[in-house]
Symmetry: C2
Subunit: 582 residues, 2 copies
Amino acid sequence: MRTTKFTSPLEWSRSRYQPPLPKVLRGSTVATEGESTTCVEHVDQIKKLFPKSFGKPIIKLAAEENKAKKKPLKVGIVLSGGPAPGGHNVIVGLYRFLKQHHRESQLIGFKGGLIGVVKNDFIEIDSEKCTNSFNLGGFHMLGTGRDKIDSEEKKEATRITAVKQNLNGLVIIGGDDSNTNAAVVCEDFLKHEIPCQVIGVPKTIDGDLQNEYIETSFGFDTATKVYSELIGNIMMDCLSSRKYWHFVRLMGRSASHIALECTLQTHPNLLLVGEYVEKKKVKFIQIVNMIADIICKRFEKGNKKYGVVIIPEGLILFIPDFKQLLDRIDEMFGSNKKKTDWKAEDLVKYLEEKKDKESQVLFKELPKGISSQLLLTRDPHGNVDVSKIETGKLLKWSVRKILRRRAKQIQEENSLSKRYFNNWSCMTHFFGYEGRCGFPSNFDCNYCNALGHTAGHLLAHGKTGVMAVVRNLTDPVEKWVCSGIPITAMLNMEKRLATWRPVIRKTLVDLKGRPYKTMLRRSNEWGLNDYYRSLGPIQFEGFNANSICKTLMLNQSGNDTEDDEEYGSSSDEEDEEEEDLK
Amino acid sequence: MRTTKFTSPLEWSRSRYQPPLPKVLRGSTVATEGESTTCVEHVDQIKKLFPKSFGKPIIKLAAEENKAKKKPLKVGIVLSGGPAPGGHNVIVGLYRFLKQHHRESQLIGFKGGLIGVVKNDFIEIDSEKCTNSFNLGGFHMLGTGRDKIDSEEKKEATRITAVKQNLNGLVIIGGDDSNTNAAVVCEDFLKHEIPCQVIGVPKTIDGDLQNEYIETSFGFDTATKVYSELIGNIMMDCLSSRKYWHFVRLMGRSASHIALECTLQTHPNLLLVGEYVEKKKVKFIQIVNMIADIICKRFEKGNKKYGVVIIPEGLILFIPDFKQLLDRIDEMFGSNKKKTDWKAEDLVKYLEEKKDKESQVLFKELPKGISSQLLLTRDPHGNVDVSKIETGKLLKWSVRKILRRRAKQIQEENSLSKRYFNNWSCMTHFFGYEGRCGFPSNFDCNYCNALGHTAGHLLAHGKTGVMAVVRNLTDPVEKWVCSGIPITAMLNMEKRLATWRPVIRKTLVDLKGRPYKTMLRRSNEWGLNDYYRSLGPIQFEGFNANSICKTLMLNQSGNDTEDDEEYGSSSDEEDEEEEDLK
């Protein structure tokens, strides 16, 4: 919805970048059916809920001259959920495919998320709009939103839009929730015999839309590079100023993928992984002590008054005693739905009534500012709005308390440790919005362009209820493999707001997976030493402009081929350089 | 003090970048004396304080074969104050000059700021250290610190270091305070006939070390580009999500240069300029209303629920009633220096005693979290530690209050405005540490390399008490003009902690200057429209890799030659592209 053209020189120059296409997508394709699919769990329920679309086969695209007579297609596309770098390239990729397919094809974009489909609120996508947003970040061409097509009224309105617009297809770009919704809409169209195919595209910076079919969702690569740039800068500040600890909280409510990727990239002194905390039932005070321990060790062993801790946004939801406290709050909210101004006293009373000693103790230990934040409004889904809870500060204040307690236990009045523990300095940061709309990395530009083309091919082959999937992403682009995976294959049943619903299962950090294990193997040396790694700003040209995030490398290639020493110059080279100077 | 080599591919590739040298510095130079200098104000006092170094002439460097026999030089260098991108290049530039000058020359680096000079705590700088940090951000080669050589004991220790090390020169890289200190050390050396020359180098990301001699301090260009990248990303998020306001606070305690430069780069909806607020005596509640007004206007005229406000770090010190409140707090602190745990009640009582109605009213209006922050510890200089006061949140909470008050005045129950004002959403950000150690832009790499060489030439010519200054920075590098300016020429007397001291006068934003006026001229259209500008990450190669910040362009060239439309593609080009696709 931005009307101006390029606002900066880099926007202009990026719009000229032409992502290479996978070989398979360079001409016409045929679609072959692979093995049939089932779903992740709860087969009977899912089958019942998706009678028309369940169990369909995987669709494989192969390059082949396709002599079938081509008809123009009319397709609608929509961006759903939080922005992720590369969304525009999916749109442009699809547009370009459609125009190649038949010059009379049409692409319309629904505005402001799925509500735009319901309301039939759209714009025509033309060549100019594509040129003005190709390879650029943001979702501003169409806007986005968090609405779902989740009621009978909205479904009916969506059918009306499809018929009125005479759509051959609807492409929904979104995360797990939005793609689940794509499956629901597809089933509804099939049930009512609406001749509009539905294709999903896997988007989310969080990295949790990843499974046996999807290697990575788009946006993850760019967002983690933006956050890693900032973390690297802060680390260099640590080494320069040598007096602050920095607690950096990173977006990612459900899963710690972003935090883990940024850790693999930058080597902070400590990463708190939500999934580990949950599995090992690590309590709040244990986490605080874990941080305090590393602070003490670094000071006592290396006289280091600085360090970096990475905290995933949703950490506190993984902490069992904290989670229990939050559940109690939810319960309390539920006990009187009309009341909106809950106070700390109310909660103290409620916990007393419930005889929940553990929560009482925890709530009392919390810094005041935080305890009031816990009672703030919840998000539209009815979950606690974790992003409003300042986990960084919560931990900072709690760690300070512990350090002062430790200082008291030191007898010697002039002890350096005593003085340091009493005067420990810490800065907190939260990075989220800074990366969701960054200029997409070359990887995300290429990936999204391929996703858009893949969606187009699947539409042209008459497929529906499938997600556009591009694989072998760690290979050169030309070797990428493109397919359509039935969305129902990724579903299971989960309880949301007291109701069981079909949803795509989020993939959390696998504690047995290579990315986590790689981090674990090095966590001790990263903790005590300063093996900080400074990535710098994303580069679009030159050496390393096509680098791929480490999570993907480790998951797919089995190892991280980038050897930190590789680009260190040999000492011979240096000697030569010195000679030049003399 | 980082021991590892390149930690990332970009560090490696940047270390290979060879900044071009100004023509004048490519071979040997002669130094000619220009006009004599005086000082900014308080001539008599400054003259008295600097009897040996006052009134010296400007030193101009010119390329000329210099047949004088060259002796090896031994030089010490030190980084002082907050880190700024490019510091390493000053060191490497100087090192390279010294080695060219005479291969037996030596450079040592004092560790951890000026205290390293006092303690004679140093490292030898060699070719390897230079290669490993050339064109890289941070001050980690030596570390930095905020100590000053400000007592007789420290001065004596400094003299001892100079003699012990047999130094020909000491180069102090720092901001206004550190360069003032360089003048003090120089005078002290001259007084005691220590044969060690002192050269200053102008560093600070804040941009306030700029005057008739200095076009810009190093680091400002890079830091503002890093912040502008993040602001641009947030703006694209605004246009995509369309539901949040973002209050972005930017580092810069005394002056609003950073905030102004980022505004010229990104076109936010509102910039609060500290210098304007001070001059016009804008009260706190007026500022809150100013923000609320633009929020209301954008919603009512364009149904826009989003926007970006830029806030300079030190804003509240410029707000007269807020300043008065802070002064009262300082007074209260001073009334009992032993007491450290001041409470809100103490202040309320104190203001009552002083019959300061205005401060009482303001303090009562402040959100609780903020009023307690005001009573936190102060910085080492004894100033209120402005960076600890969360101005962004202070404004957010205060604006929310005003908006709810306005909502109440709307009679119509179903009014969209009423609903919006009650549910206004806002995120706050503070960017500071994220930019101080970024990879220096090509401009800062080139500038700092030239500054290092200039410092070397000035030393070789036997000059002391001068700052290395490079000018004509908006011209191509080869045309840059290099000189040495007596630091005393920039001094005046200022009251610091109740004592009059000689200091370099900080340059605040000039309300009659071109940068401010350019912003002012466009502020209305930027306020109501979405003329957001997304710069993207700093690029080191390709189109626009050598761009220069707008403040410098406007101040020096008189205009900002970069025309936003220039890089917009012509429609012809687009038609061609469309044809290609069909």
